[in-house]
């Protein structure tokens, strides 16, 4: 279609920009999805992720940029002509219509044959597990059931794209987790290309084929859940998805060797380390679960002596806050997630001296 998207891309978004007055909600966002892919748009509140979805839906006119579906430029089409199924955060079910009618209205608009519509509605209710509930009004259904009706209504029009705007945020934890896998299975079975907006990183990691991370209107990273978790492109991504310890005032000494005060750390190339020049100040990051406890001491590579300043119980694991002296009285705090069993076995306590090891290939380097 254009120089950016390949023909094989089902949906491609090029240089999407949306301004509300002086405020730039979306700044030059480009991405594409393949047919049947489940894409999650992830970001903190107010980052513009819902605006991306609304632009794709046709509910918001972009200031500039194009949206191409199946090789057809749909940027100027209104929502009613885009054939997108939308599940709103509040579901937006029609309260004056029964579940059945909520699902049927979109079908009735399309076909005049009442028989076919009836059969399809029954089938859809069955698909979302609400057989026999068709004559209930939305107010008579639980949150999870309303969610399913919303999903069935969106699917009824056999949409080119299924757009989900924080579909699970209004549900309690148990229902949310069950619906996660149900939505994913349904999506796979029907093979509909889906974009879901969420601020819940766990939801994105468990459901998505690929994740799009947006911060303050800018696309910061796009990749599989494994990629964005393992190789976060920026400190923002690193701390938004999971948690990350950052050590500042680090200097690159030579290739693969970085200095933190008097400590010397070896960091494997390719984790952001190659981009920086020798002597340049940088910041390094390591995830709490990657910090290894070296209870038996040892002076190996990347072994640091720390002081346990706090222990926080988290059920299956403990989070240890470790003070790492850098130079003189200056120290930095590193969090480490340690399995409960290990904490008990080693008898870890506050104010204990504890050597830790930072694995060479688990440290990421960021520009300071």
């Amino acid at each position: 279609m254009t120089q950016h998207g390949e023909i094989s891309d089902y949906l491609s978004v090029h240089q999407l920009t949306k301004k509300f007055g002086k405020f730039t909600a979306l700044d030059d966002i480009s991405f594409s999805t393949k047919l049947g892919e489940f894409l999650c748009v992830l970001g903190p509140s107010g980052c513009g992720k819902t605006t991306v979805l609304r632009a794709i839906a046709g509910l918001e006119k972009p200031t500039s940029g194009t949206i191409v579906v199946e090789g057809r430029d749909v940027t100027q089409l209104p929502v009613s002509r885009r054939n997108v199924g939308i599940v709103f955060q509040s579901y937006a079910l029609f309260p004056n219509l029964t579940a059945e009618d909520n699902i049927a209205y979109g079908l009735k608009q399309r076909s005049k044959k009442a028989k076919g519509v009836e059969g399809r509605v029954t089938e859809l209710l069955e698909t979302v597990g609400l057989s026999g509930m068709g004559n209930k009004y939305p107010a008579q259904l639980s949150g999870g059931q309303q969610q399913r009706v919303a999903l069935a209504r969106a699917m009824a029009i056999s949409p080119h794209l299924l757009l989900l705007d924080e579909p699970l945020s209004a549900l309690d934890a148990k229902v949310r987790i069950r619906l996660r896998s149900e939505i994913r299975q349904l999506q796979k079975r029907l093979g509909v290309t889906t974009i879901m907006v969420t601020h819940d990183q766990e939801e994105a990691l468990t459901m998505a084929d690929r994740i799009l991370i947006i911060d303050r209107g800018k696309l910061v990273q796009m990749g599989t859940p494994g990629e964005v978790y393992d190789k976060p492109a920026t400190p923002f991504v690193a701390s938004f998805i999971g948690s990350m310890n950052f050590i500042t005032k680090v200097r690159k000494m030579e290739d693969g060797i970085f200095g933190v005060g008097e400590h010397r750390l070896k960091i494997s190339n390719g984790r952001g380390a190659r981009r920086v020049q020798n002597g340049e100040p940088v910041m390094i990051g390591v995830r709490p679960e990657d910090v290894m406890i070296q209870a038996d001491g040892g002076d190996g590579i990347n072994t640091l002596n720390t002081l346990v300043s706090a222990i926080e119980y988290r059920g299956s694991l403990f989070r240890l806050s470790l003070n790492l002296p850098i130079s003189g009285n200056d120290y930095t705090t590193i969090d480490a997630d340690v399995p409960s069993e290990k904490v008990r076995r080693l008898g870890l306590q506050e104010n204990m001296h504890l050597p830790i090891h930072l694995p060479v290939d688990r440290i990421r380097v960021y520009a300071a």
Partner: protein, 281 residues
């Protein structure tokens, strides 16, 4: 962007039913109603009795109606009531229609439609009804060749329609934009969205204030007497000119107006219940 979606829930302040004295409820209700009318009536009666005015209530009856040769001949008051009812009912219907169209125009994406609605609304709202009645009757009706009754109905419908439009617009706007978006996303056209999704949700919100407006319409219809249309008020004036029974006739006229408006109130109350029951659980 996180938005906290607010649902329109119609929660009447007085929604708790008194379950303790169920069998007494009709009695309590009746005595309450009685108090509403009986107390003011008693007060007026007391004041009237104290004053030196020579009350001649018995003379009113023949102005309401008489029996001649076993058939009922309606008196001038009833004839006036019939005219008032005709004007009111037609205007009621027309003003709701005008209101709905104006509201839809004001919410339309078209600038022209919005402008038309806005101009109509401002012109009507910012001039007195009596001026509008005179303008229609003395200026427009000779030009357009419309008669007295029609110009009265038109003036009232246009006037009340402007107010009704704001009430209807408020009701439509109270339906969340997501309802529109959801309806549009499944391919519904604007007419069907209004007809099947938005208006059914707006109506329970619209009914109570619209009922108030329609009661105003009935009372405002008294102003058509100024263009010599023989409605209830005009007939009252005529009888007074003939009999000098100022107090009795005005009281009688007032009571007749109360009966019509109270009837309308009860009817809208019933409508309100019917519509809000259907889906608000």
């Amino acid at each position: 962007m996180e938005k906290i979606e607010t649902k329109t829930i119609i929660l009447p302040l007085n929604h708790k039913k008194n379950t303790q004295y169920t069998w007494l409820n009709p009695a309590i209700g009746f005595s309450k109603n009685l108090m509403f009318f009986a107390l003011p009536a008693a007060l007026i009666w007391y004041l009237a009795d104290k004053s030196d005015y020579n009350w001649q209530w018995y003379r009113i009856v023949k102005y309401i109606g008489t029996f001649q040769k076993e058939s009922f001949i309606p008196g001038p008051l009833l004839k006036g009531l019939w005219v008032t009812l005709q004007i009111s009912v037609i205007s009621l219907f027309l003003s709701c229609l005008t209101g709905l169209i104006t509201a839809v125009f004001r919410l339309s994406p078209s600038f022209a439609l919005r402008a038309i609605a806005r101009i109509y609304l401002e012109v009507i709202r910012n001039t007195p009804l009596i001026v509008q009645i005179f303008f229609l009757y003395f200026v427009l009706s000779p030009v357009l060749g419309i008669e007295r009754f029609t110009s009265a109905v038109l003036a009232l419908s246009l006037f009340e329609g402007a107010y009704a439009s704001e009430i209807i617009r408020a009701g439509i706007v109270s339906v969340s934009t997501e309802q529109w978006e959801a309806a549009a996303s499944i391919g519904l056209k604007p007419f069907r969205i209004y007809r099947h999704i938005v208006l059914p949700q707006a109506i329970p919100v619209i009914i109570p204030p619209l009922a108030g407006q329609m009661i105003s319409l009935i009372k405002d219809s008294a102003l058509v007497s100024t263009i010599a249309l023989y409605d209830l008020t005009m007939e009252g004036q005529m009888i007074i000119a003939e009999t000098y029974m100022v107090f009795e006739i005005w009281f009688a006229v007032a009571v007749i107006y109360i009966i019509i408006t109270a009837g309308l109130s009860i009817f809208t109350h019933f409508l309100e219940k019917k519509f809000s029951k259907s889906f608000n659980n």
